[in-house]
Subunit: 249 residues, 2 copies
Amino acid sequence: MVIPHSAESRYTKPVLVAVNKPLDEEDGLEKLRSHALFRSLKAHDLDHLIQQSRRLRLGHHQLLYRQDRPAHHFFFVISGRLRLYRLDSSGIDRTLDSIAPGDCFAEVMIYADPPRYACYAEALKSSEVLMIPVKAYQELLNQHPEYAQAALRHYAMRAVTRFHDLEIMTVQSARDRLIRYLIDLLPNGGQESGEVELPLPKCLVASRLAMQPETFSRILADLKANGLVRVNRSKLFISDPQRLIAISQ
Amino acid sequence: MVIPHSAESRYTKPVLVAVNKPLDEEDGLEKLRSHALFRSLKAHDLDHLIQQSRRLRLGHHQLLYRQDRPAHHFFFVISGRLRLYRLDSSGIDRTLDSIAPGDCFAEVMIYADPPRYACYAEALKSSEVLMIPVKAYQELLNQHPEYAQAALRHYAMRAVTRFHDLEIMTVQSARDRLIRYLIDLLPNGGQESGEVELPLPKCLVASRLAMQPETFSRILADLKANGLVRVNRSKLFISDPQRLIAISQ
DNA sequence: TTGAGTAGTTGACTTAACTCAATTATTCGC
DNA sequence: GCGAATAATTGAGTTAAGTCAACTACTCAA
């Protein structure tokens, strides 16, 4: 599936707009402080890191960075939502992840010299991110090696998350992949009923799950017809996750 | 697909056999020294770590560790080959990775308390591994925080590798997933022709690529009939990777 | 508020991949 | 080296999911 807007953004230089207002509590400073990567940092060190960072505003569908370009920064999402995707030689767009406020991201091929981004990152709606220089963070780690522990744990966890994503994708039927994807969106891993919001537009969830939008739509319609989910735009109410899990086998 | 031997090993306590012979140059000590996680270590520190580790021999299909069990060790492969897989509630076995001599592994859910393995690990043939206590490695990092840099890079790279694996799995056609998998096995990323050896038996490569063994066999037969690959047991000769890439779009 | 463009749905038809079954190779322990 | 067990291949029939097309429902920007 070729997504028009991303094919277009491929040829658009990202013009990044800085926001000069400093980060305040309402802007997610609290979320930043409590992020796994930063919560072990002394206030003074975190402040210094923030001072070396820039706050950016991204418009709807605006490109933040490109696959294979040198990666001098990583990012913290203040507001909005982004998606990570890769393009292959035929221009097919594969959505691989979505990023919510409070997340920190940038898949970087760290052994390349210079390190390069492993994917494109694009805002799904108007968003704000904090652009943190890798160098500044590395200097901080050099000065305070005890901080590296948190970074190590963060990356180890990320590797396991991707490993889990990979497991879902080895499920052969489109229907079962979708069910497992929905269950994973539920807070307690499907122990109790709940409402989930799709982190991506439906056509991109379909891309993420290696199926056509039509197939996604039909599977969801079928689950709805069987009383397994109630659908309201991008919000899905799952009344009985266990029943959903049961039919996926 | 339920793989008989793994369903069986599920109920078999892994009886790990220690090898008392110390690691020597022929046993992959050189490979261990040059591994990304260890090459920055001073000889003395690495020796101490090895002394705290145990060398294990694994028989064909022997289970090394189980998903969700406490993870007190990680592993370095001296010889043989292992696979990582997960089992779901219906007993379906999903092969997610294979591990070769010289690799270091253990996907660990590090935020769990205690940390737990994120998958099963099993020897594909008789193998030897070095079982390294996580505690010993962590103590080493505490004493020499500069070593954490290497670990951080290793995990960051692992996350990117899994991200790339995920990308392949978002390819919708079984044929194209197989082609991309083969291209990735080639040394230069498909720039030049070469022979690749499947790191897993064909039925497990099929599982890894979310297809049936029959489908795998038919696709390979078709590629062979079109002169795109020459097949000799688990060795495949790919004479023109670019042509293979071209037909996968 | 309107209209253009994108996203989502549904139907009809086609095809890739699955399933089941039978047969042939391989592997590995004895 | 033999024989049982597992892995791989091939055929035939079925089905899930893709494709193409038409239509509807949003969204966003002028």
